[in-house]
Amino acid sequence: MSEDASAAPRYLERADFDRLLEALAARGYTVIGPRVEGGAIVYDELSTSAELPIGWGDEQEGGHYRLRRRGDAALFGYNLGPSAWKRHLHAPRVKLLEAARDADGRLRFERVPAPQPRRAFLGVRACELAAIGVQDRVLVDGAHVDPHYAARRESLFLVAVNCGQAAATCFCTSMETGPRVQGGHDLALTELLDASRHGFLVEAGSDAGAALLEALPTRAADAADIAAAGAAVANAAAGQVRQMAQAGIRDALYDRLEHPRWDEVASRCLSCANCTMVCPTCFCTTVEDVTDLSGEHAERWRRWDSCFTLDFTHLHGGPARTSAKSRYRQWLTHKLAGWHDQFGESGCVGCGRCITWCPVGIDITEEVAALRALPDPSANGAS
């Protein structure tokens, strides 16, 4: 990015917000952003700001989610819904290949081209931007590149939003992923809404973002705008009631593989896999092989999978992880410990979705605290 791209924040009036959508559309982007559907915020195609969750906030707790009226006209006055951007990048179902077998039994394979939609994501929170980065490390930055993810990712334009409030389930400050966006975005918005105005502080995070920003009817942001934006983000940070201490977490978990808390949490966990489906970083998949009626054509599909299922570790002789305890332990230790070894960072961004969408309200921050409160009685020299 060139030096001056992010240099000067701009101010965009709410009344001009649709110019942003129009500018994206004019550049060939399909805009995907938040809207209210079935009582929740979901990310879907948008064409005007009228389709945004205007005036909606969300109320979240362990096992609890409800939209509520804020009493204002904020566009981004909620925090997070159940479905992460993952759905649009690491798609739930992808056809990997086609195979044909002729009458003589000769095989032929065909690659399925990866669609490369030109899309803009609107309203990406700091934790979600971090989660996209985490999935990039898994799916494109390693020795192998997932062509389906890479194609969707490459053409992406990211409009981020700094949070002005936290949900009770948020803990991005612990994970150091938010509430202010920290990079990877093209544009970052901070919503400024008070008695005297409704607008957005807009900052460019890339050359593409800076170019788009130039095409919008903005004015230079003044000191009051910048101070108000800072206060909004500070409010989101101060409002976080959950924490998860990160120092030493990797070894603390590795040293507690036989901790009694695993049995305790397993007695509550339903192995429903909700937590893995809503988590923006969970990447595991399985494959399905199908043939048509003629038996001459076969397809191989990839779909999201979860380490909470018994089939996940099935090998001749049965599953490796039979108990609910072993599966919860795998999920949590992979996310918070193994990920550091594998990818040099945590697999958790602190979005709190797994807390909200767990039907029995199991809380990852509470489980970690309980595990760390006592050493593993069976381990030697536990930290």
Binding site: F283, T286, T291, R300, H316, G338
Partner: protein, 270 residues
């Protein structure tokens, strides 16, 4: 991710449920590999399975796999006759530490089908026999009928430069060999524990006890190498199924120095 097309050139029955396929690439290109690596074999419409390469790395034009029919994919592979085709992608994973073994005694310990992934390593050691010290193969199978590569084992024995002990869990009165678990053979084998390197492949429980026995014999854990196995869907560290502690067995394994995975070896249901 796209498999290559291979044709079955020959097929041998090894035991009641295990068979060996010799495969030739339709594109005639070699499939070069290092002993210990595996391929994903695709049976049309049924799916893929991770199968170690059991052939000779010095003959990369002929791909050899020994497969035990246990489920959907492996049973479909069992139906393939000469001339039939299948998909192959690979090779994947880490290799047996043959370079590090040069000049040292080498101890191979195999359980059941675990002899198949060790076979390319044994072939390479025997082909350059003078580069190694004493060579020992300890092999355990369920019954005499489950012993893999029986004719080849007899030929290896006849060379006189490899010490071989075979044991079975149970046998009739016509079996003249050992009965009992393979770990008991460690004590009998002639090798210099201080200068040996061991390569283990078999059920986890068998490897766990063998590591203990080798330790008792004086071997250091970082001279022991194990090949691990988990469900695998992609073999390129995307699907998440083969995770074992922080390791992706498909990428960081299947062959590991024991000390790298020792921390996980005793945990149950990992």
């Amino acid at each position: 991710m796209l498999p290559r097309v291979f044709t079955v050139a020959a097929r041998h029955e090894e035991t009641a449920d295990t068979f060996t396929l010799e495969l030739l690439a339709e594109d005639a290109a070699d499939l070069a590999f290092a002993p210990g690596q595996f391929n994903m074999l695709y049976a049309f419409g049924r799916g893929e399975s991770a199968i170690s390469i059991s052939g000779d790395a010095a003959e990369p034009q002929r791909l050899v796999h020994t497969i035990r029919a246990v489920g959907t994919v492996t049973r479909a592979l069992a139906e393939l006759a000469p001339g039939a085709q299948l998909g192959v992608r690979g090779p994947y994973g880490t290799a047996w530490p043959l370079a590090a073994a040069r000049g040292r005694d080498v101890v191979f310990v195999a359980g059941g089908i675990g002899l198949a992934p060790l076979r390319p390593a044994i072939l390479e050691v025997l082909a350059a026999r003078r580069d190694y010290g004493r060579v020992v193969l300890l092999y355990g199978a369920r019954t005499p009928g489950d012993v893999l590569y029986a004719a080849e084992i007899a030929r290896w024995r006849a060379r006189g430069d490899i010490e071989i002990h075979v044991t079975v869990d149970a046998a009739g009165s016509d079996w003249r060999g050992n009965v009992g678990v393979v770990t008991q053979l460690v004590r009998r084998a002639g090798f210099d524990a201080a200068h040996a390197l061991a390569m283990l492949c078999g059920p986890e429980i068998m490897m766990r006890y063998t590591v203990v026995e080798l330790g008792r014999a004086g071997m250091s854990p970082n001279d022991v190498h194990v090949s691990l196995e988990r469900n695998m869907k992609c073999a390129i560290a995307f699907c998440g199924h083969c995770q074992y502690g922080p390791e992706f067995i498909c990428r960081d394994g299947p062959v590991f120095p024991y000390d790298r995975v020792a921390r996980w070896f005793d945990a149950r249901e990992l």
